[in-house]
Symmetry: none
Subunit: 122 residues, 4 copies
DNA sequence: GTGGTCTAGACCACG
DNA sequence: GTGGTCTAGACCACA
């Protein structure tokens, strides 16, 4: 379900967070559903519980999840995601688009990639 | 020419590298032109030469610059940029697009953002 | 009457206690009136009776309620509330005011907020 | 400079964070100045560095400080503080005012407490 | 059982 | 020297 790369420079907790975020975004974990518990994930991934919890904290900070002590963490609604997160993504989007254009990718290619992704939805 | 943000979480050498890359991408430094020397940049920015050197190495690794011993570093052609870099950007592009869609941004909004950015080219 | 927010980081028993306190403060439950029984509240809110019990104990400790064995719990008079509670609130008040001023909120704004709140009394 | 209370229910890292925040708010640590290093504070307070760092992270999240890896943490400008923080404080303010009024504190007393605090500014 | 906190000790990246 | 990350293991509060 989640794959980690220890050779990656990104810290483990970010990889876990990004993986969970993707599961939420893709609908694998629907809004409101319970995320795996800190302990279960830590044993599944063979990672220290503290590291997992840090991933959850980070995810909660972004607004993708909320935590209830003694109950667990749950996927939040898209509308609950931090407004700053969206702005941040749009800025990254622009920067990447600019560089891709420099590298020869045309605007129409990118545009079709955006609209074409509607059904492949891997 | 290059502005550093010490409050940014990104390390200085990455900021320098990204700044130089942007200068190349935007055409401020045309392909083939000489990049500022490590020493001049380090004195201009009041930064340790080691840090600048690291930025150049990283930029060279991406393929955005090449170094000629005794001559200096030069901006490379877009076609010389690592193929992996392009692929990497496209993957990041897809990930960002997917999340933005989840957050309610429509495909047409993104498409127009791609094509509309033609002339603003900050 | 009482609404719980499971997404709130505060434990349930604190939410119940705070909710009851607010009902007393706002006069919805006049001093001397009987508070809902532990059992009725636990079934109404679908919460473990132990949790409700804990809320009542906490409320009683503050002086906002007192319990008569075999009769139930009752809302206390404002004068019966712990003197420490008042002092504690005043200290929190000062701390918050200080920070708000630091953040640019003027004293007159806060003063009018105090006096203006007379009739809105949500 | 900072006093901790191990008997307090609030976690240590929050006490440290609140203490640092107060130092910034009161101007003891002017905006832009360096906060004590994680290691120095941890040895001064006889607290684990991880706990101190957590306090710093929390403070940074609120916008009261920013951190530069390898350099240290610094006090931020009041304008950089999270907008949500201000709103949060105003809501707490209202709740406290309401309860204080119930306990017999008049609006004029509170108003003068707000304006009177101008010069005592301990 | 669940998350939250804390300690102790270690290694790494950055400048 | 500084902060950032991770592990291991422990205790507590909550429901």
């Amino acid at each position: 379900m989640l794959q980690l790369n220890y050779r990656d420079s990104r810290p483990i907790y970010e990889q876990v967070r990004d993986g969970l975020r993707k599961l939420i975004i893709t609908g694998v974990i629907p809004a409101g559903d319970k995320l795996p518990s800190v302990r279960s994930l830590s044993s599944t991934l063979a990672i220290n519980p503290n590291t997992i919890q840090r991933a959850y904290e980070s995810l909660e900070q972004e607004g993708y999840a909320y935590t209830v002590a003694g109950k667990g963490s749950f996927a939040a609604l898209p509308s609950d995601v931090n407004a700053g997160r969206r702005q941040e993504l749009l800025e990254k989007f622009d920067v990447i688009v600019q560089e891709l254009k420099y590298l020869g990718v045309t605007a129409s290619e990118l545009a079709s990639r955006v609209t074409g992704g509607e059904e492949e939805e891997k």
